[in-house]
Subunit: 134 residues, 3 copies
Amino acid sequence: MNEKLTIQTHRQGLMEITNQVREVVERSGIQDGLCTVFIQHTSASLTIQENADPSARRDMEAWMNRQVPENDPLYTHTAEGPDDMPSHIKALLTSTSLGIPVIDGGLALGTWQGIFVWEHRTRPHSRRIIVNIQ
Amino acid sequence: MNEKLTIQTHRQGLMEITNQVREVVERSGIQDGLCTVFIQHTSASLTIQENADPSARRDMEAWMNRQVPENDPLYTHTAEGPDDMPSHIKALLTSTSLGIPVIDGGLALGTWQGIFVWEHRTRPHSRRIIVNIQ
Amino acid sequence: MNEKLTIQTHRQGLMEITNQVREVVERSGIQDGLCTVFIQHTSASLTIQENADPSARRDMEAWMNRQVPENDPLYTHTAEGPDDMPSHIKALLTSTSLGIPVIDGGLALGTWQGIFVWEHRTRPHSRRIIVNIQ
């Protein structure tokens, strides 16, 4: 079973989509299986991270921005703007697909885990995500 | 099929769990399929790495500790101790889930590949891992 | 269904294998499912990245080489050459397995996404990849 989600991002940073993925799993009626979340982009990515304290997310974003800065003289791929090449590198370091077990009809996430889209571009984007359930 | 494993970590660093995952695959009796290993935490993570020479593991740990140091003035999420925020970033850079083909009733790992839990916290923890086999 | 591919790499860097994976999916005849690509090595890895402009790939390679240099005095695992330990760290930061939905008999990749093997060693290697389709 595949269901497509469209996620409207508002700015650069982590945006939680746990509820949207959970609803797809519930609609599927599948009790035990595997849920794969896949993002069809190379300048936004996925991660499972702590969803309790927003300060952890802000620190991850700040660390990543320091590690992969804009306007690095190393970049030659600059035609699409200063946030484009950092976006690809940040996507490289995080995930394009996530596999999450489904148990008793629900996502088997840990207590503090949430599923996030990480928008790496500065401007808002409409991001296509596929939720695949086996 | 889902089976839960509890892994007791002893200290910060990589800890091999290939045998525990292999045993779940063998118990399942599945000949050809997909094994997904999922960790239900955001301050410990998974990786498949070389399991022959412990010096490669030590170097990976040392590199990661230099890259993501404790007490970085950038961190604001510090209430849970100096090893907490680095743990989330290290988890971000490695994996929360791994998909491994099952062929002829066994994990199709390469000759030098082992499955590892990476404990990012300083103190020992009891870590919950789900092995999902399709 | 599992099919093994052997990919001959020519040098350090990203090498696109989208067509080879696509052919396995088409041969399988599976209409809707999940394709997992798995590499049986720890000094080469996988990633899904932009496949339109080669300059993006070159910048990713250059960034990674600066981030994980050869001959870092931190390394103790040096017996297999100066490119060996950086290879393991680069593999750690990228992916050993990728899950991609199969929809209507094809890989559900985004418009600009390609599947790449990243050879991290300097010399050419023969790399074993498994394409698993559920």
